[in-house]
Amino acid sequence: MSTRIPRRLAAALLLVPLALPLAACGSDESDDEGGGGGGGGGGGGGGDTTLTVLAAASLTDVFEEAGELYEEANPGVTVRFSFAGSQELAAQVTQGVPADVLVTADTETMAGVEGETGEPTVIARNELTIVTPPDNPAGIDALDDLADPAINLVLAAPEVPAGRYGREILDRAGVEARPDSEEPNVRSVLGKVRLGEADAGLVYVTDAASAGDDVLSVPIPEEQNTLAEYPAATLDGAERPDEAAAFVEWLSGDEAQGLLDDAGFLAP
């Protein structure tokens, strides 16, 4: 018979993971002097506010930075992000996810949830690029090379903006590319290229920049490229509509625009 863990120890071990998040919640609440906190999230009655921002996967790095900056400038406000494919975020909004702000990677997805958002503002633009592993094993030089059935090509699913833009670009260039996988968001396309599983993928210029030397970027000429627009809007279901509106406005301001510019986004 194998060695047995004493029962009490086992019970204690089982309780540890249960107790940890509870303890974390407890300390959160003790910070909040006002007590009597409102609905969900960490937001209480008094000074502390948690803004939940649903953002397109391609905004991951720059928004995390922007969030920190915003929190510094606005003490008492915590910005929490949920990054996913725009279409998935829109689906979450339709299903009533508790959140305050939505930022998608295309105006079409934003228009699809028109009834549940405030007036959207375009905060940035972006372009697509081909990415390959650093050594470019398949020797990709241009869009035409993506038609080669022998290469491992990964695109975003046609449901998400990056996938739609990518297909637009390929169609317009008359390239008949057959992807080997349609990833649920643009960041997983980047991931598959970074891992070396894919020979090429289509991602945003900013995604390629965020991966640094892990990927090689093969630019798509401007006349073949397409311009992605990122609209931001408050959600009608926002628990704190005023703070949500302030955040959306801040995104168009100099500070946020500087960050977006640094990350390679184009001005709206």
Partner: protein, 264 residues
């Protein structure tokens, strides 16, 4: 007469049941019953269904081919590191499937441990149906091994000893005596293994990617449908729910009592 359970147990137990039941009722209540046939015969759905059956079928075949000998070895022989092997077999059951997918990429992906040798053999697993099968085998084979090993361990060894004294070799004994006796447990393990393979999502999307007709199985289709067409996602979920329920009904709780298999 049956004892009435004390309220302190019955009430939380009822909550437990309600908690498990509510989401399932949600699917049934929300299902687009009127357009169900139309949605389920949609070519995109039937393609995912066909692929799911193909992938889970192959996963079952491969799991049987490797899992039955493995279960026999664990139950019938003693060797150093047996506990370790058993833990290894159990690991995929408790491992998050996405982690399984990452592990498969690092082990069998193009840049993974065996990526080079596999590529020189012309085998490419990521982004291929074969990759989806590998992901399904990885997460589902443990169900077969554990179920069968339990039954084998609970089996009285003297039937096998008797066969051996009559001159049957180990393989003949396994085929003619042991396996028929653990038949029900083997069937139960196979059914669970197949159902798990059919439901596999995380390892598949991580390791094999998502491509209609090649790696987009029903669970992946549900995930993507939910973004575009929630009613369609509910319809497909209903099918998977029905399959899962059918498997459990067919088993009638048999897998809970491994070793309960009786000869004959």
């Amino acid at each position: 007469m049956r004892r009435r359970p004390p309220l302190t147990l019955a009430v939380p137990a009822l909550f437990g049941v309600a908690f498990l039941l509510t989401p399932l009722l949600g699917i049934v209540a929300d299902a687009p019953w009127s357009g169900l046939g139309e949605r389920l015969t949609d070519p995109a759905v039937t393609e995912a269904l066909r692929l799911s059956l193909l992938v889970s079928g192959w996963a079952l075949v491969i799991s049987l081919a490797f899992g039955v000998p493995l279960a026999w070895l664990l139950a019938r022989t003693d060797f150093r590191g047996k506990t370790l092997v058993r833990s290894l077999v159990l690991l995929p059951m408790v491992l998050p499937p996405t982690v399984a997918g990452v592990a498969l990429l690092q082990g069998l992906g193009r840049r993974g441990l065996l990526g080079g040798p596999l590529e020189s053999l012309g085998v490419r697993l990521p982004f291929s149906t074969a990759g989806a099968v590998v992901a399904a085998v990885f997460v589902s084979m443990p169900f077969l091994v554990i179920s069968l090993e339990g039954a084998l361990s609970g089996l009285e060894p003297h039937y096998e000893e008797a066969a051996a004294t009559m001159g049957a070799g180990p393989l003949t004994t396994l085929r003619l005596v042991t396996l028929p006796m653990v038949g029900p447990a083997l069937a139960a393990g196979a059914a669970l293994c197949w159902a798990r393979a059919l439901g596999e999502f995380g390892a598949t999307i991580t390791f094999a990617g998502n491509l209609p007709g090649a790696t987009q199985t029903l669970p992946l289709k549900v995930y993507l449908l939910l973004q575009d067409d929630p009613a369609g996602a509910t319809a497909v979920s209903l099918v998977l729910l029905a399959v899962a329920a059918a498997v459990l009904i067919a088993l009638r709780g048999r897998w809970l009592a491994p070793g309960g298999a009786s000869p004959g």
